[in-house]
């Protein structure tokens, strides 16, 4: 066998290439099975960027379906009002697209609001509980319901099903805890920072 291969260099080269091909083919085939990615990873990445309010303002029943539509059906990235401009920019960065302005048709970027149930008026119908996508409403049939404010995403979905209209969306106003400095207005001369002790002549 060896002598035959040594005598026939063409055959030897062929055999070497074929065996290499088979070996790497087997390796790749194994890797393809062993390390198969479940689903489309880009969908997860898009879903990460979306604000997860599950509000359905984009026209899809939740954030993940919208992410799937963006990934698979070339859906526009400007249909998410809760994500706002920042969300569109993040999506544009992720997908390497141009950032486009928010599609007004699907709503405006509002201040985040939290649902509030006027408890005296609640009749305990559980309709809002069924509508809440994140289980943020607590209550039972014929018992008063209430919203767990820290879990509410402000998606609005509980307002419509309420038969007695006892749910308000209360915008979260800026407080001492949420206040922060704003970028300086380049036009205004009212500048907060006072690092301007520039009277060098008077140096002590």
């Amino acid at each position: 066998m060896l002598t035959l291969l040594l005598d026939q260099p063409l055959l030897a080269a062929l055999a070497a290439l074929v065996s290499l091909g088979l070996a790497f083919g087997a390796l790749l085939g194994f890797a393809a099975v062993r390390f198969r990615t479940e689903g489309n990873p880009i969908i997860d990445q898009i879903n990460e960027v979306l604000p997860q309010t599950q509000c359905g303002q984009c026209g899809y029943p939740g954030c993940r379906p919208y992410a799937e539509a963006i990934a698979n059906n070339d859906e526009a990235i400007n249909k998410c009002p809760p994500g706002g401009e920042a969300g569109i920019h993040a999506l544009a960065d992720l997908l390497d697209m141009e950032a486009i302005p928010l599609d007004e048709e699907h709503g405006e970027e509002n201040v985040v609001a939290i649902a509030y149930i006027r408890e005296a008026e609640c009749i305990g119908c559980t309709k809002c509980i069924q509508a809440c996508p994140v289980d943020a409403i607590l209550g039972a049939a014929k018992q008063m319901h209430t919203v767990i404010a820290s879990e509410c995403t402000g998606c609005d979905l509980c307002v419509e099903p309420c038969p007695v209209d006892c749910i308000d969306m209360i915008p979260q106003e800026e407080s001492l805890q949420t206040w922060h400095w704003q970028l300086p207005d380049p036009v205004s001369r009212e500048i907060e920072i006072i690092a301007s002790d520039t009277d060098r002549d008077r140096a002590a």
């Binding site: 309010t53 599950q54 994140v134 879990e151 001492l176 400095w181 300086p184 920072i193 002790d197």
Partner: protein, 669 residues
């Protein structure tokens, strides 16, 4: 001689310190009102322990800490709590915050203070508790709870007492070191006892020779080392001072404790001394009042909660020449929205400059990339690069360029030839990044909850499907078993039997109550409910409540329920009555009764129902007649009879058609 290191960058702004160093510390006295904000520190606001109207004594705890990173607040003097309400505080936002408002009575009566004879014999945890209970937050300006810093996870090599005070104008620490050097040394020794570091250093810039002399004298024989180093702004920054004294750099995003160092301000050391040695909580501090709009600038020992305008008055404040009131120094301070806001634990200086002294900066020009800011930056950042990213809101790049290592010292803005307010960009960008992080955390949390809910709904659906499948299987098995036994089981019959068995089981479970008793009970309970509802309605109407409508509908519903219950009882009695009567005695009478009852029943029916019943009856008759006709035809009856039968069938057909149209009309009507 200890080796002194240097940090990158830094600037030499005019110091302007001597204006406020002409005299000693003056006592500001007790103002007419004290406003104690519940949040004077970094961390969670404390919770009030007193109510409006309470009398409080000096040193009494009036607000308890909430959580670990929080400090309590104490009444600075005796008096009455006037209110606990939202008041303006010294914050750049100008927002209101909850405060305890105390009206001092002037007696300055104090609670009994617990003095420590010898703190060295006491447990460290006890000392830490006492420091925490004394409400001590970092006095240098940041206000981080002192006790939290004193309980590091790692062993501490070096304790640094910060007497640098590098920011222009401020002299509160300087005067403290001159006048209370002994207390600083005592406080430092207490901190040393708690942390047991290898060495304790007191760092002072060389522009404070009097302080250095006083401290050296006080620290003699104590083992504390006074280290002096050249003046440069911002050498008083914690990380910068650590680098100057030890040559170590605190890692990015880390704490000094990570490199075995704890840093405390000299003011904090005095507060610790007061808390441990004399048991006095933190109720006052030394504050510098300076600037050209103050005729008598100086340092004041001022009760926390003293309105700033009271303090300014003592310093001969001229509001007309002052452009803005600044809390802190000219580099890192901020404009206070209103002069009535209180002095808090972090108020080291009130700066009241005139327009000539601290002019409004000229409008910002474009960045010329001169790089002076990068040379000045004490954190070795690239300020101009950060500025570009901040303008473009490129938050990720800002983070990767270590924006969070910026100490907001203002050195870059100070040297900027284009007068760009760089620090303001960094502050805003830091806030944006924090906002983005918290939004991301919230959205991750929402997604988890949403996915958990979806999983739960799916699971419930599956369980239902499984149950259905199990029932179907059981039914099939029963059918198969029946087929095996040779009897064809009718599924409908089986269902009826099951239902019957269920009913029987329920009836036996319900006890031996006769149906009549049950109905009577139902009537009585419904009547009671109706009465109750009516009284409630009357009450509501009397009180003019807004749910009258709901109550009214409730009453109506109960009334109709009562009516049906009464009718059911009456029906039952009527049904059971004939059974007891001797019905068979008079069949004619019985037939009449039956007819009358039928008539009555008919009268109770609606026109639609009546029309439909009529139609059905007619159809039945028509069917019968047709059958008879067919039979006659088949049987070969006489022509006459066939004719008569067919005529009657035709008549009936007409009648049916009429009745049909009548039914339709009534139903439509």
């Amino acid at each position: 001689m200890r080796r002194i290191f240097d940090f990158h960058g830094g600037i030499h702004p005019p110091e302007n310190k001597r204006q406020s160093l002409t005299g000693n510390i003056q006592h500001a006295g007790i103002p007419g009102i004290l406003v104690i904000p519940l949040s004077q520190h970094v961390g969670a606001p404390s919770e009030p322990l007193v109510a409006a109207g309470d009398r409080v004594l000096g040193g009494q705890c009036i607000a308890a800490p909430k959580g670990l990173v929080s400090v309590p607040q104490h009444a600075p003097t005796s008096g009455r709590v006037v209110a606990i309400e939202e008041r303006a505080i010294a914050h750049p936002s100008g927002f209101l915050a909850p405060c305890v408002v105390i009206e001092p009575d002037g007696d300055d009566e104090w609670v009994e203070l617990q003095e420590a004879q010898d703190y060295r014999s006491e447990a460290t945890t006890l000392l830490l508790d006492r420091i925490r209970n004394a409400g001590i937050a970092g006095m240098g300006g940041a206000g981080f709870p002192c006790a939290v810093k004193l309980a590091p996870e790692k062993a501490i090599e070096t304790l640094i007492i910060n007497g640098t005070e590098c920011e222009p104008y401020i002299t509160a620490d300087d005067i403290l070191m001159r006048e209370r050097a002994a207390e600083i040394v005592s406080g430092a020794l207490i901190l040393q006892h708690i942390l047991s570091p290898a060495e304790t250093l007191i760092g002072v810039e060389d522009n404070k020779p009097d302080s250095i002399a006083a401290l050296t004298a006080a620290a003699e024989g104590s083992g504390l080392e006074i280290v002096t180093f050249p003046t440069k702004y911002p050498s008083g920054g914690e990380k910068q001072l650590i680098e100057i004294l030890t040559g170590k750099q605190v890692p990015s995003g880390g704490l000094p404790a990570d490199v075995g160092i704890v840093c405390q301000n000299v003011g904090t050391a005095v507060a610790v001394h007061d808390a441990i040695v004399s048991g006095r909580p933190l109720v006052s501090r030394v504050t510098t009042v300076t600037g050209e709009a103050a005729a008598r600038p100086g340092n004041f020992e001022v009760l926390l909660g003293t309105p700033m305008d009271y303090l300014l008055e003592l310093a001969g404040y001229d509001a007309s020449s002052n452009r803005r009131l600044i809390m802190g120094g000219p580099m890192m301070g901020f404009t206070v929205p209103d002069a009535s806001v209180p002095v808090v634990k972090t108020t080291n200086c009130l700066l009241v400059p005139t327009e000539a002294e601290l002019p409004t900066p000229p409008p910002a020009q474009a960045c010329i990339r001169c790089g002076m800011c990068a040379e000045a930056c004490p954190a070795s950042l690239l300020p101009q690069q950060l500025f570009w990213f901040a303008q473009g809101k490129e938050l990720e790049k800002l983070e990767s360029h270590n924006l969070f290592d910026c100490i907001e010292c203002g050195a870059c803005s100070f040297v900027c030839p284009s007068n760009i307010p760089l620090v303001q960009y960094y502050r805003a960008s830091k806030a944006d990044i924090r906002q983005q992080r918290s939004d991301q955390a919230k959205s991750d949390h929402s997604r988890e909850r949403f996915e958990a809910r979806q999983a739960r709904l799916e699971r419930e659906e599956q369980e239902k499907a499984q149950k259905r499948a199990a029932r179907k299987k059981a039914a099939e098995q029963r059918a198969a078993a029946a087929a095996e036994n040779g009897q064809e089981e009718d599924p409908i019959q089986a269902a009826i039997e099951r239902a019957k068995a269920k009913k029987a089981a329920q009836a036996s479970a319900a006890g031996t109550e006769s149906p009549q008793d049950k109905l009577e009970k139902a009537v009585i309970s419904t009547r009671k409910r109706l009465e109750k509802a009516q009284t409630k309605l009357a009450e509501a109407e009397a009180a003019g409540a807004d749910h009258i409508e709901a109550l009214k509908t409730g009453v109506e519903k109960t009334r109709s329920k009562l009516a049906t219950a009464e009718k059911a009882l009456a029906d039952f009695l009527a049904e059971s009555a004939p059974a007891t009567e001797p019905e068979s005695a008079d069949p004619a009478q019985a037939a009449i009764d039956r007819a009358r009852k039928a008539r009555e029943a008919e009268a109770a029916q609606s026109p639609q129902e009546r029309a439909r019943i009529q139609l059905e009856k007619l159809q039945q008759r028509l069917q019968k007649s047709e059958q008879r006709l067919n039979a006659a035809l088949a049987g070969g009856e006489e022509d006459k009879i066939v004719e008569a039968l067919s005529a009657s069938v035709d008549r009936l057909k007409e009648k049916v058609a009429d009745a049909e149209s009548a039914t339709m009309a009534t139903e439509e009507g």
